[in-house]
Amino acid sequence: MTITPAHDPWTDRLSEYVDGEMRPVDREALEHHLAGCPACSVALAELRSVVARAHALEDRAPADDLWPGIATAIAATPRRAPVARPPADWWRRRLDLTLPQLAAAALVVAALSAGTMWIALARSPLRAPAPGATAPVASSPAAASQQTAPAPASPTAVTAATADVVNPRYDRAVAELEQALADGRGRLDPRTLQVLEQNLRTIDRAIGEARRAVAADPANAWLRSHLATTMKRKVDLLRTAAMLTAGRG
């Protein structure tokens, strides 16, 4: 799905909405609008995802993450990497981006592979994007394949309804992280591995349920947002798992 700079006046106010700076009356009107505007709903979900990702990434260089620290503890040769020093109020920084910027930022986030995304984003701020960039909402066929309950719609209907939330780059990043976990599973404590895999299954089940809900109600802004958020949780957990395995290698 491609999002172009829209003329819908609400799109320019989504950042304000996400930042909680909108007057209650405007907020209510926007939420009413979101219920009937899939484009804005998708943009909102992407915006939340991008802002969350940006906030999560700006404060740390790769070596400043908790889990590489754990990895260092068991590495043969302890290393100390330089530590990023974020501004004291980094978490309050407001990302005041236009929709095209957000769209491209989402693309940047999604496009970075498992092996490079943290390094790249930690070293440079979100770049000003080219107008008209693609901003897909992520989805995972792998997650869909793990659906355990019968879907309310036919597979064809599900495919059609969710076609606009499929993102091959996200899938690729997930696949790479899953591969990293598979490659390194022998280096993890079996109990920890079991816990990680159980929790990944839990998230996959939640993703499957959310995807079916979106398929049944494609215009539902909150469902789309919930799906995107849940998918991000999977990436976060896979990242943790990959770092644990890599650190012991």
Binding site: G69, D189, T230, L244
Partner: protein
């Protein structure tokens, strides 16, 4: 001699199974421990010095490496085999800490600096007026209390909790409950996939409070005079309130919003298939305590069982 330890690397190899050393800490220095196995417990004192006590195997050394504002304490063996050491540290109150362990608990009390603490298999607990806290565990509980600044708490497969905290809070679990109590923050984000979310604390004007779960319920205590624009979203869950809701305008059965008082704060309540409940502060506490006590007992039983299954002479887990 003590001062020299602050600027030079000091390796303390011994044949004893207990290390106890104290060295001067440079003002502003951060202390780091990357432990493989074993607990880390930290307390504070008024001295500008760090005391390291460690229980370990006979062939294990404790190394103190002070360099460029970072004091690193680590266990080492002659063959480089990962080992288990229980550390007890006493540090200046203002010191910042970065603590990690794989197999072990972390317990920090009274530190006023920045605290990062993570474990893979153990519980992590940070209590006291820390400037900021980042506490996380994969398999164990993560809890923070009393922090003054930003707080991040996360667990993958257990509970995450925060109490008596005032700064921005981000707290999450995947397969566990998330509990916030006596919170004085104006920026709260709490989420879990398969668990309950519970909140009791201030609802401040212009504050932002976001609570979400996929499978579990959400229970939020709203003070009598709180003003908030509240949005409720669920797919197949329910909604209930212990007090009258001032409905206005059209609403869908599973997604709606309403305004309490002046609408100054923003509260988002989202559960895919759990019950969303609003109540007044103080109600339901007994039930929460009972539930927490039950979970604590179950966890204790599981831990006792694990310890019984996991006895080894040196406690090493290569």
């Amino acid at each position: 001699m003590i001062a020299m330890l602050a600027v030079l690397t000091a390796a303390v190899f011994s044949t004893a199974t207990h290390t106890d050393t104290t060295f001067v800490a440079r003002s502003g220095a951060r202390l780091e421990i990357n432990n493989f196995g074993g607990d880390i417990a930290v307390e504070t004192w008024t001295r500008n010095a760090v005391r390291v006590e460690a229980d370990h195997g006979a062939r294990v050394g404790v190394v103190v490496d002070a360099d460029a504002g970072v004091v690193e304490v680590r266990a080492t063996t002659r063959l480089g085999v990962p080992t288990t050491v229980d550390f007890r540290l006493t540090v200046p109150r203002g010191m910042s800490l970065k603590l990690t362990t794989i197999h072990g608990d972390i317990d920090v009390k009274g530190v006023e600096g920045d605290v990062e603490a993570s474990s893979v298999q153990g519980d992590v607990s940070v209590g006291g007026p820390a400037r900021s806290v980042k506490a996380g565990s994969v398999e164990g509980d993560a809890s923070v209390s009393g922090a003054r600044g930003k707080v991040e708490v996360s667990s993958v497969n257990a509970d995450a909790s925060a109490e008596h905290v005032a700064g921005p809070i981000s707290i999450s679990s995947v397969n566990g409950d998330v509990t916030l109590s006596a919170v004085e923050s104006d920026d709260v984000e709490a989420s879990t996939i398969n668990g309950e979310v519970r909140y009791e604390g201030a609802i401040r004007d212009r504050g932002s409070y976001r609570f979400s779960s996929h499978d579990g319920g959400i229970t939020v205590a709203i003070p009598d005079r709180a003003g908030a624009a509240v949005s409720v979203s669920t797919f197949s869950g329910g909604f209930s309130s212990a007090f009258p809701i001032p409905w206005s305008g059209a609403r869908r059965s599973n997604q709606f919003s309403f305004t309490l008082g002046n609408g100054g704060a923003r509260i988002e309540l989202e559960s895919f298939q759990g019950e969303i409940r609003l109540q007044r502060p103080g109600t339901g506490k007994d039930r929460m305590k009972e539930r927490d006590a039950e979970k604590s007992k179950a966890k204790h039983r599981a831990k006792t069982h694990d310890d019984g299954d996991d006895e080894s002479d040196e406690g090493n887990r290569p």
